[in-house]
């Protein structure tokens, strides 16, 4: 067994290896990593293909949502306009906001992660390429169907935040709101899948020597971005579950007359929604931190402070959600906590701004005003203005005046377009040469920038004024006597200028963007690894990294890597593979065998999307069939992932031999499962918050006597069943036979654990039913059953995984060494059972505690 903390790599290592490499190695790499030709490209999983597809789809949604914005601005250009109806206008702003936030901003950033991270980390690919491809296809299908609802009068009308009671069935009948709830909920799951890939990728697929202090800032930003998705998105997933269940089945969560509270939605939504702003901004800030040193030709000033600022922003952003709710009657002290956090988060944001300015100022050369540089300078101005108005609206008295006016529309666009769209356009111009045979046009880029910059300020600056003058948001028209006309006309003209700017960018793309590897290598003379020459396999060999800007500080590295003189210059297992390194010091630990193109993940994405979308139109039976089909496709997809240790250990160069299969906490799949558990934990935490919050609002709906509560005996029975299940799963790992033999006890223990878990949940649900708890009667009752729904869904996953493990045992693919599938099943089972026990404590303990 090798030292699992990793092989030592230092400056006196045997690399670069001066011996000539076999020319066949490169041919073999090209063959192994080649994309399927023609229409079978759909089945590809390579990050360059998937990343481009992801980015293209996100850009398409940006353009489509932008067109909706132009229609809205045209409607508002003059008073009492009747270009669109009020109902269509409601649909337009709902789909515009939802598309920009869910279908453009987050996916565009994840696309950049998929596209750039493997190159920045000199990895062959991210660790779960099929999961990444699944996420992309699910997003494209779900997003397209959601967006198309605007053409069929099926689009939701509740705004991108879909507040109840407006979105309850009584006030929003039909399927419009359901398209948002199920469609967006589904797309969030796809975002979480991407986040898992990014976290494990950043922590485990770095090149040897790239310790945390040398990690590129963009990778830091993506790590924090993905961590925030893991914590924040489950809150809105729970919110969408609750609202959809109330709409479809009448369980009451948000109806005040049954003890519910519409503000619960706002808490859950904004617990996701405010971090979402930083989820969008932080990666963009990471990109700026990568481009600014190249533009200034000098290392980033305050690199460590920038990393600290990114982490601090990630945390503090979770303390701001109530600042969207200052006008809802929350006590003054509570508002003060959130107001303080809203101002505190400006400090780390300011650190980054000053660091970029300092880096540019410290340049010893004249800065060339190329399109990326212009977009970054534009971003500095626009985002700073948005940040300052953000501090203004963090003040409670000011917010009371500005709330729901066009001042807020101006503020949020200054933050989001300045903080994300301008850096993204800088990114397009900066990184296009990495993927394209030609550079994008500098002349057209400058036209694009100036039109967008001037157009943006012309469109949104007057909104501050018209907002303070009293123009409310989300109105489809206004009276002539209001005096808002001239401001709106100017805003509309500005929006057309932005549109022309984006059009020029698209023309530039069509004219000049040609995918291929024969373009100029490192045209900006940057210092980071993504500018190493590469092909479908990423870099020819994986370099030892000794500084934050290795291409600046390690002379000859480009040539050495291209000649195959560093790690893994070949494909020792004969298939796709990459190096897995330790999370802190990035020491080589093992060679990961990766899957290639396939159809199962594509089928799974199509069927998952179909399941969710068919549920929207209440075609439940076909939806369930699609759901089962999606699960089967997932099982087919993962069946071949656990290849076992047969091909190793292998020589990776530099005198290091590594295994190709590592179970336990050093394995990449263990890390992914831990992240899945964090997602489930965050969802459950949101549930606990909801339960306790609703009690503070309507304690009179809680049981007033012991006879209204499920019996303690039944609770103890469930707890016992869960404890026995835990024991069975634990024993199943111990019972695994050595390779070449089977222990019949193993599948029996796994099945026993599965059955005991199911029995535990079943016993609980029956106990609630027996005592007469009805989820349509009160929010208390609905929340009691909701605990079982949440436990049931995790245990369902354990059931499926348990059956999968049994099948692998039968097929002879499970033993004491080849045991990753069982280890991961057990991890999730332990989590599921712990969650079930906590929920028992809450459901049985809390009401009794309150009763005294």
């Amino acid at each position: 067994m090798p030292d699992i903390r990793g092989a030592n790599v230092n400056a006196s290592s045997a690399l670069p290896n001066p011996a000539p490499r076999d020319p066949q190695e490169k041919e073999e790499l090209l063959r192994i990593w080649a994309s399927p030709p023609g229409w079978r490209l759909i089945s590809d999983v390579n990050n360059r293909v998937i990343g481009l597809l992801y980015m293209g789809a996100a850009l398409t949604f940006f353009v489509l949502a932008g067109i909706l914005a132009l229609v809205m601005r045209t409607q508002l250009a003059v008073p009492e306009n009747s270009l669109v109806s009020q109902e269509l206008y409601n649909q337009l702003f709902t789909v515009h906001g939802t598309t920009m936030m869910f279908l453009f901003a987050v996916p565009a950033v994840e696309a950049l992660g998929v596209l750039l991270l493997p190159q920045m980390l000199a990895a062959r690919d991210l660790p779960f390429p099929r999961l990444g491809a699944f996420a992309v296809w699910a997003y494209i299908i779900g997003g397209t169907v959601f967006f198309s609802t605007i053409f069929y009068d099926l689009a939701p009308q509740g705004g991108w935040f879909m507040y109840p009671p407006l979105t309850l069935s009584e006030y929003s009948p039909g399927n419009n709101a359901d398209f948002w709830l199920l469609g967006i909920g589904f797309i969030e799951i796809s975002a979480i899948a991407g986040a898992i890939e990014i976290i494990v990728g950043v922590l485990r697929t770095r090149p040897p020597g790239m310790s945390l202090d040398k990690l590129p800032v963009f990778a830091w930003a993506m790590l924090i971005f993905a961590g925030m998705i893991v914590v924040a998105f489950p809150a809105v997933i729970l919110a969408t579950m609750l609202l959809e269940i109330e709409r479809s089945f009448g369980w009451v969560f948000f109806s005040a007359e049954h003890g519910g509270d519409p503000l619960l939605w706002q808490h859950l939504f904004w617990f996701f929604g405010h971090p979402e702003v930083y989820i969008i901004f932080l990666p963009a800030a990471g990109l700026v931190s990568m481009m600014v040193p190249t533009i200034a030709r000098t290392p980033l000033v305050g690199h460590k402070l920038i990393v600290v600022a990114l982490i601090a922003t990630g945390f503090f952003s979770f303390g701001l959600w109530v600042h969207h709710m200052f006008t809802t009657g929350i006590p003054a002290l509570s508002m003060a906590f959130f107001s303080a956090a809203s101002m505190a988060v400006a400090i780390p944001s300011g650190v980054q701004i000053f660091s970029w300015i300092a880096t540019l100022a410290s340049s010893r050369q004249r800065i060339a005003f190329t399109p990326p540089a212009l977009f970054i300078l534009g971003m500095l101005f626009i985002f700073t203005v948005g940040g300052l108005t953000g501090v203004m609206v963090a003040m409670v008295p000011f917010d009371w005046q500005a709330h729901d006016t066009y001042f807020i529309v101006a503020h949020l666009h200054y933050v989001l377009i300045g903080g994300m769209v301008f850096p993204l356009f800088a990114t397009y111009y900066y990184w296009a040469p990495m993927l394209s045979r030609r550079l994008l046009s500098e002349r057209m880029g400058k036209w694009c920038f100036w039109l967008m910059f001037i157009g943006f300020n012309v469109a949104f600056l007057p909104m501050h004024v018209v907002g303070l003058a009293g123009m409310p948001r989300r109105v489809w028209t206004y009276g002539t006597e209001s005096g808002f006309g001239i401001y709106n006309l100017v805003s509309t003209l500005g929006s057309y200028l932005i549109g022309i700017g984006v059009l020029i960018f698209i023309i530039d793309l069509v004219r000049n963007f040609r995918v291929g590897a024969s373009g100029p290598v490192n045209p900006w003379k940057a210092g980071t690894l993504e500018w190493l020459p590469g092909d479908v396999y990423s870099t020819r060999s994986i370099p030892i990294v000794k500084s934050r800007e290795p291409l600046w500080d390690q002379p000859g590295l480009t040539e050495e890597v291209e000649r195959g003189q560093h790690y893994l210059p070949n494909a020792p297992t004969g298939g796709r593979e990459t190096l897995i390194t330790s999370p802190i010091e990035a020491k080589p630990q093992y060679v990961m065998q990766m899957p290639g193109p396939g159809w199962a993940h594509v089928v799974a994405a199509v069927l998952t999307a179909a399941c969710f979308l068919l549920l929207t139109i209440k075609a439940v039976t076909i939806a369930l069939v699609c759901g089962v089909g999606a699960i089967v496709a997932c099982l087919v997809w993962v069946w071949e992932l656990d290849k076992g240790p047969g091909a190793g250990p292998v020589d990776i160069g530099g005198g290091i031999k590594l295994p190709v299969y590592v179970p336990g906490s050093s394995g990449h799949s263990w890390w992914a499962m831990v992240i899945v558990m964090l997602v489930a934990g965050s969802l459950f935490f949101s549930y606990i918050f909801s339960y306790l919050y609703v009690w503070t609002v309507s304690p009179e709906y809680w049981p007033q006597g012991e006879n209204q509560l499920p019996s303690l005996e039944r609770g103890f029975t469930s707890a016992l069943l869960f404890a026995l299940a835990w024991l069975a799963f634990w024993a199943s790992r111990k019972s695994l036979a050595q390779p070449g033999s089977k222990n019949p006890l193993t599948p029996l223990l796994v099945l026993g654990g599965v059955l005991l878990s199911v029995a535990g949940v079943g016993n609980e649900v029956h106990a609630y039913y027996q005592v007469g708890i009805d989820p349509t009667e009160s929010t208390y009752a609905a929340l009691v059953y909701m605990a079982s729904v949440l436990n049931g869904q995790v245990i369902l996953a354990v059931v499926i995984m348990g059956l999968f493990v049994v099948a692998r045992h039968v097929a002879g693919k499970l033993d004491a060494v080849r045991c990753i599938s069982l280890e991961n099943t057990n991890l999730l089972a332990y989590y599921a059972l712990a969650q079930a026990l906590v929920s028992l404590l809450l459901i049985h303990g809390f009401p009794r505690g309150v009763l005294g």
Partner: protein
């Protein structure tokens, strides 16, 4: 202890120590929000003093903990990495980087905690307005 378990334990310790500043802020923020929410829901009148005393007491403890963290960051980072292993497995640059990160995050968290806690001096515990 196997290498695998040791490694897992190190990562957990390092993450907890490295992020202890923001985690203390999370704890403080959650505490002040939940204490205010629950005690005021139980009895607004009775909570007027108890909320303020509780928040002030917990804030003082957390401020002290954060100051301690700022002062002792290198020692804590070394412990998280298992001191005897630092030289064998970790470069000095990594150690300095992680110590700085721990210290700076604790500093920012200290500012944020004090900012939140100050509110109890000026505002009523449960009501909307000062009298």
């Amino acid at each position: 202890m196997t290498g695998d378990t040791l490694q897992k334990e190190q990562y957990i310790r390092l993450t907890l120590f490295g992020l202890s500043g923001p985690l203390l802020w999370v704890f403080h923020f959650g505490f002040v929000y939940i204490v205010q929410l629950f005690l005021c829901a139980l009895s607004a009148e009775a909570a007027e003093t108890s909320v303020k005393v509780l928040i002030a007491a917990v804030s003082a403890v957390i401020v002290l903990a954060l100051i301690l963290l700022i002062v002792m960051a290198p020692e804590l980072t070394a412990r998280a990495l298992h001191l005897q292993d630092v030289q064998r497995h970790y470069s000095r640059n990594t150690f300095v980087f992680l110590s700085f990160m721990t210290r700076a995050l604790a500093g920012l968290s200290l500012v944020a905690v004090i900012w939140s806690a100050l509110a109890v001096l000026f505002l009523p515990a449960c009501g909307m307005y000062t009298s």
